[in-house]
């Protein structure tokens, strides 16, 4: 599984951080999402999919391997 994050689309809602806090974080200066790892580790897949589903700006794309 690979995660693609488009920071230009991000509106800093923080939804991804709530869904998958070990995979997503927010930049201190503007809250824009940052990806902590492109490939989730075992057990994180479902929360990453949820982050993709609930992102209000459709800024997260999850590519299933």
């Amino acid at each position: 599984m690979k995660i693609v994050l488009d920071q230009d689309k991000c509106v800093a809602s923080g939804q991804c951080v709530l869904a998958a806090p070990d995979v997503f974080d927010q930049r201190d200066d503007d809250g824009i999402a940052v990806l902590l790892r492109e490939h989730p580790v075992a057990g994180e897949e479902e929360s990453v999919r949820e982050a993709g589903r609930i992102c209000p700006a459709a800024a997260i794309r999850v590519e299933e391997a």
């Binding site: 509106v11 800093a12 809602s13 923080g14 939804q15 951080v17 709530l18 869904a19 974080d25 927010q26 930049r27 201190d28 200066d29 503007d30 809250g31 824009i32 949820e50 589903r53 609930i54 209000p56 700006a57 459709a58």
Partner: protein, 398 residues
């Protein structure tokens, strides 16, 4: 369609916790349809969850309230000053990004101890006073007011001014004159406040805006006051309604309330908050937009210049997305609800609302286990006429 068949919007509720039955019927039978508003205009109403999310994500659908065709909730709200929630991109993102760092999840998580302290103090005061007491006045309104005041740097001592003006600003029944007067009063107050913050800044949001935007000439006093008005009004009204109406909903589901009261698991409290947000969907007059281009949705073509209302309340009851959607269930995973909206305008303050609501629902019923409604349920007055649904008063005893 003949005019007589065009339903008026908004409709009247049957059960106070459920969307109007006509809305549910429309979602099932005519999910993208025309409705008639107070001014005789006939914008589109979109009721299915997937369609609602698609519309709110579409850049061809505008949030600009000044465009002809925008479906205003009332003559008065058409005159309201608002800020980036009424802008399209790129202006929207530029303004929103000035604020997003203050509403980042981890930053707000850091406020938990402070918010817990405020909650505990308010409960102490309630327990020390007489019963019955109005939960709205004693708890539901003071908590988010205190929190947003601290965050923004607004003196809590001035709460009478912003509570009074906010009430008018979110009312669908206010006259244009009343709306204008309330908005101007609050706008002037916040303009003065941000100027004084520029002289003697602290650590709060208004101080940072004064130093980084006002002093450098990047934003004017009026622009910052408009932005502050939105943050202050949205930051306390909505959460206050969720606390009081959510408490009433839980009191009507005593078995689930007992589980919440006994919960040792923060995940159950967090899930309860999401389910209450979904089930109650307090912005119950829809999210409103106007099309910039022709857009096809659900087999209908919405033409450029036509208004669109998306009914998030009934979308949150869509059986395609939520099993047995009309059943209130604190164990449901409701995290993908659209109570905070969707798309680029999704609520900026939602991480703050979540922290506040989780602390309230994890504390209030545990500390006052015998909390009970002190009037017949049938006599509770609901806020049908307000942009955010809720109860006017909630007399409780214990």
């Amino acid at each position: 369609m003949p005019e007589t068949q065009t339903l008026s919007y908004p409709m009247t509720r049957g059960c106070p916790f459920d969307p109007p039955p006509e809305l549910t019927k429309l979602r099932e039978e005519d999910p993208v349809t025309r409705v008639r508003l107070w001014d005789g205009s006939t914008p589109w109403l979109v009721t299915r969850y997937d369609d609602v999310r698609e519309i709110l994500l579409d850049p061809r659908i505008s949030s600009d309230t000044s465009r002809p065709g925008y479906p205003h909730p009332s003559a008065a709200t058409a005159t309201r000053r608002m800020h980036f929630i009424n802008m399209d991109n790129p202006d929207h993102d530029r303004h929103r990004r000035l604020l997003t760092r203050y509403f980042a999840v981890k930053r707000l998580e850091g406020l938990r101890p402070r918010i817990q302290h405020i909650v505990d103090e308010l409960i102490d005061q309630m327990l020390a006073g007489p019963t019955p007491v109005d939960l709205v006045e004693a708890f539901a309104l003071p908590l988010p007011s205190l929190v947003i005041c601290e965050l923004l740097g607004v003196p809590y001592a001035d709460r009478d001014l912003f509570h009074r003006t906010s009430k008018t600003i979110v009312s669908r029944h206010a006259t244009p004159e009343e709306m204008q007067a309330a908005t101007t009063e609050l706008h002037e107050y916040l303009g003065d406040l941000v100027e004084s913050k520029g002289v003697d800044p602290g650590e709060d949001v208004f101080s940072r805006l004064a130093v980084e935007q006002l002093r450098t000439g990047q934003m004017s006093r009026d622009e910052i006051a408009d932005m502050g008005l939105l943050l202050l009004v949205a930051g306390h009204e909505t959460t206050a309604n969720m606390i009081a109406l959510g408490t009433l909903a839980l009191l009507r589901h005593p078995e689930q309330l007992a589980e919440v009261r006994a919960a040792d698991d923060p995940a159950l409290i967090a899930g309860t908050v999401e389910e209450l947000l979904r089930y109650l969907t307090i912005p119950h007059l829809g999210r409103r937009r106007v099309a910039l281009e022709d857009v096809e949705i659900g087999g209908q073509t919405i033409r450029a210049g036509e208004g669109v209302i998306v009914a998030t309340d009934v979308a949150n009851r869509d059986p395609e997305v939520f099993d047995e959607p009309d059943r209130f269930d604190v164990h449901r995973n409701a995290r993908h609800h659209v109570a905070f909206g969707y798309g680029i305008h999704q609520c900026l303050g939602q991480p703050l609302a979540r922290v506040e609501l989780q602390i309230v629902y994890g504390t209030l019923y545990r500390r006052i286990p015998t909390l009970a409604l002190a009037q017949p349920f049938e006599e509770v007055e609901f806020k049908h006429e307000m942009l955010a649904y809720g109860v006017h008063r909630l007399p409780v005893t214990w």
